[in-house]
Point group: C2
DNA sequence: CGTGAACTTTATGGGTGTTAACTTGGCAGG
DNA sequence: CCTGCCAAGTTAACACCCATAAAGTTCACG
């Protein structure tokens, strides 16, 4: 495999998928085209059809790759959260850091971010993308919040929606939307305040009542 | 003006803008093309260049129109909130209704919604779209929350970001994103829980402390 | 009745997905 | 070691789509 230079590429499928992911990173999902990926790899457009049924198939592959990249980048950010201090504070800090990582990633890699989350998938109902890794990460954070008594256990099921929405929404407002032109200070302020709101919004447990 | 049928259309600019808005409604911003709008109006593509500098100019016009439509639709929804009961409860109900209206509109008119908010505007830094009407509406709701003592006055400045982000984010997750395939019950649940989180997240005032 | 704005035709030059038919060359089996 | 098969590539072409410019035509109005 990977026998570059030869007539038979040997790993074309992966090479095309990686190229597609790069295109997505710089130009968003719309930039993911069969011809573009083929061009990047230095191969004929039609060659791609040996490995992908059609353009949406290629997009799907690119999405999978970019999703992995995003999950990895976020994982690092969350792992970097200091593990000292009071358990409740730490759990909260970890949740905040998860959200911050999500938003920061969106700002640094808007193309990847859009590719991951603005599906706009075509008519054929495609298989629900199992569990986006960031989503799973959020779930863990919420579990921790239940353990330390910040979030009430009975509120745990389905608790992902709110925090996810808040962080996701702010990311998009900042990247693509009306909040795009904020300066650094304003942006940081918006982020921290949104995280404030999120943490406070999750405060339904006994420990939260006590802290108040 | 408006002399239809004649060689000189008389109101081409508006006609094209309306057509562009329709295209945006059904196909999102990507569907807004000079040729498409011209076709719709029954006129030659080049005619459009008498009224719009280029395609992005047309898009801008479409965005303005769709934005107006969105604001109007949301205004109705908010105005329909019952005005009875306790002041605090009413203020909260109005805030929730604003958010619900925003999300509902996004679900009913995804094309318009995307056109309004997923800028992805081109390189030339275009003039910041003053104040999107829904944003202004949110501001009023927050003012009311301060008046009734739910939101602390010192937290009022810049308080828009959080609620807007939450509602905006959920709308996008439901319309375009991974939450697209939820069934009705799940969707409603996600909406209400996100609104719960938002309201609780804003509870920094004296009245909120009392209610707890 | 002439002028000029509003519209037309015509054309250039680019992009895309996708199919059909041909070529190359690695590898398995005689 | 040769040979032939077939997967993995190729060239070529079809059929769309788009933005935009140059030059000609129409007609409303002063």
């Amino acid at each position: 495999m990977t026998s570059r230079g030869s007539y038979h590429h040997g790993d074309l499928r992966n090479a095309l998928a990686r190229a597609a992911a790069e295109l997505a990173a710089t130009g968003g999902p719309d930039a993911v085209t069969i011809r573009g990926a083929a061009r990047e790899v230095g191969v004929t457009p039609t060659a791609a059809y040996r490995h992908f049924a059609d353009q949406s198939d290629l997009l799907e592959a690119a999405r999978a790759l970019t999703m992995d990249g995003m999950a990895a980048a976020m994982g690092e950010l969350v792992a970097a959260v200091p593990a000292d201090g009071d358990a409740t504070e730490r759990a909260i800090a970890r949740l905040r850091s998860t959200g911050r990582g999500y938003i920061r990633f969106a700002l640094e890699e808007p193309g990847i971010f859009r590719t991951c989350f603005t599906g706009q998938l075509r008519f054929p109902s495609d298989p629900m993308p199992e569990d986006p890794a960031p989503y799973a990460l959020l779930g863990e954070m919420l579990d921790e919040l239940v353990e330390v008594g910040w979030l009430a256990p009975e509120d745990r099921p389905g608790a992902e929606a709110g925090p996810w929405a808040a962080v996701h929404g702010l990311a998009l407002l900042l990247v693509d939307g009306p909040l795009k032109d904020l300066d650094d200070a304003e942006r940081e302020d918006a982020i921290e305040r949104t995280l404030d709101l999120t943490v406070r919004g999750l405060a339904t447990g006994p420990e939260a009542r006590r802290a108040r």
